[in-house]
Symmetry: C3
Subunit: 265 residues, 3 copies
């Protein structure tokens, strides 16, 4: 059952360890978002330790934002442990579609790892399901597939929960589609807010085992509510960014569900 507040309360009690193999640009940001929300981040990417770390984690977040080959190997090693242990895995296919390397790496991870939630923007997710003729980048999506349909199709074809973020977020397990209308325009002015939403998805998945669709929806609602709070009084992208951690830390389990704008389509 959907309750971001209940999951948040449970997360803050358990403080699950969320193992993140992510990009250089946002490591500090996703670690701080995780910590501010109430879970424990750990960043580790060396082949020598990545499996051991994944063995003690409650969820795993893979983010390909600044990729290189030995990082991919580590993602696959950690993903293998996560798959074997059946802990949830989030994949953030940053820039899939921008280069062949990113597209093929995302596909390889989807093939080899039991990805629970694929969290990306519309262009990235479309790339991962689209034939070239069908969708080419973000532009052609508006003309053809809408975001709700994109989430449903991606979920079906890739066997994941598809979490497609944008002005309105859409999350689907291939049958149900939920839309989340929280958030703020300032999110688009700070780098790594998409990556943060993936990290927070990892936190919610860890705190709500067995209900990945609900957890993915709740994560985006919570992050969106925090963004709304952070924007209130912010002077622009920089102070919004600092206030975003304040807002995540201050999220109240009691009031969170009342503020979440979630609709089943």
């Amino acid at each position: 059952m959907l309750s971001a507040g209940a999951t948040l309360r449970s997360m803050r009690e358990q403080k699950p360890l969320v193992h993140q193999i992510t990009n250089y640009v946002v490591m500090n940001e996703t670690a701080n978002a995780t910590l501010a929300l109430g879970a424990l981040p750990v960043m580790a990417h060396a082949g020598e330790e990545v499996e051991e770390m994944a063995r003690i984690a409650s969820s795993l977040v893979l983010n390909i934002g600044t990729l290189s080959s030995h990082w991919i190997e580590s993602m696959l090693l950690a993903g293998g442990v996560a798959t074997a242990r059946r802990i949830p895995v989030v994949l953030d296919p940053v820039g899939a579609g921008a280069t062949e390397f990113r597209t093929s790496t995302s596909r390889r991870i989807l093939d080899l790892v039991d990805v629970t939630v694929l969290r990306g923007n519309a262009g990235e997710v479309a790339t991962l399901i689209g034939a070239d003729a069908e969708v080419r980048g973000v532009e052609s999506i508006a003309a053809g597939i809408d975001a709700a349909e994109l989430a449903r199709t991606a979920a079906q074809r890739l066997g994941v929960i598809a979490s497609v973020t944008g002005p309105i977020d859409h999350v689907s397990d291939g049958e149900r589609v939920l839309a989340i209308a929280n958030g703020h325009a300032l999110l688009a002015t700070v780098t790594g807010t998409g990556c943060m939403s993936s990290a927070l998805t990892g936190c919610f998945l860890a705190a709500k085992p067995g209900e990945p669709l609900e957890a993915a929806v709740e994560a985006l609602a919570a992050f969106g509510v925090a963004a709304e709070d952070a924007a209130d009084g912010a002077g622009g992208p920089g102070t919004f960014h600092a206030r975003l951690y304040d807002a995540l830390y201050a999220l109240e389990p009691e009031s969170l569900d009342g503020r979440a704008h979630i609709e089943e389509l």
Copy 2:
């Protein structure tokens, strides 16, 4: 013709993609500065994708702040594409003169890539043109060459626009020298503000094709004006840093030229 306001307006309309291969310390900062100003940053350094990314970018920024050998190879690959495509390239030779590795890598990039703008501090730029007897680090410059002369000489010898930043910035194409007197002392208390000025130079170059001297000057004026705004009300380096993104975001094309203190020497 010099108009930081006009270039900024054009940049925000076009949202050029600025490919940055930069150091670990400032990646988040230069991405956020790029985004706050109104362009689109992309960080990618893997040999497998760096050429493909450079092929879709409007400018390329190379920054050697935390160097290692495979990053240099990627810089040369991306630089090769940029040279072939004739898109502008900014080189930030962070720490040239501090170690032989940084000095020789900067020279190698200058040799192999068609660098449009070399953006560094006086010591770094002096190292790249100086015989040991002539200049040794920042100290000896004050005694001998002044910054305006340094910019002019570097531009002539290296065949670049030389952008030498300091309390007063000096930019030269080897003939003309322009001095920019915007900025604030708090810039020196935050790491990566020099790197940010290089990234923003990449943004202005992308938005003002064919006029690299003017674009480099405008970038420093715009960054300096933003720093003045950010300092107003800041409590120290940390809040100044956050407010710097607010100020870049809030820069007004209409008032920018009136606030720029640019003088041709």
Copy 3:
């Protein structure tokens, strides 16, 4: 003699260069903390330059937070130079105990480098001295060894100044144990504040040669006082984080000793 104020004044006059080989998550943060306090950070990790950089530095900080094998080699190379030059070395064994790779790497650095100060939390430090039967992670410490005893034992066995941070910090040279009761609970809500305390320890060591116990104590007191100032008026982790640099920058040598809560046990 203990005087954080006197050491800070001296540091700001000399501006010592503090060479840091640290993790991706906190590089920006430790550089900014170093700069805000009044020393000069330099981040360099390439095998090609790490010895040359260590040769011009006044202290070296090694932090294993996001480890991989070629970074370890660089730490050992830089550590070798530091040992030969007898400049102080700080080791921050981030996550020792969490994976075998981190534990064994920490031990290898302690074996091969003349580490001056080992700065870690209780679990990390306990791991590095403990037989499995004796201590297993942070939990069992509370039951058995207390933090003061842990610091003393670690200092004796490892031949270092042991700096064990927590709600109360304990620093020992194996004989004397000093407790520092400054700081604020918000420090635990921001990632990398432990790493910052290691970086600042490097700054104080550089500014107070020959008195490593005192320097390590003063660093924690100064950082704790800054945290108290930053917390005053902060809205949560994000604004606290920004204000922490403001507070480090604003630390007054005159009032610092009066505000430090240092007790010899």
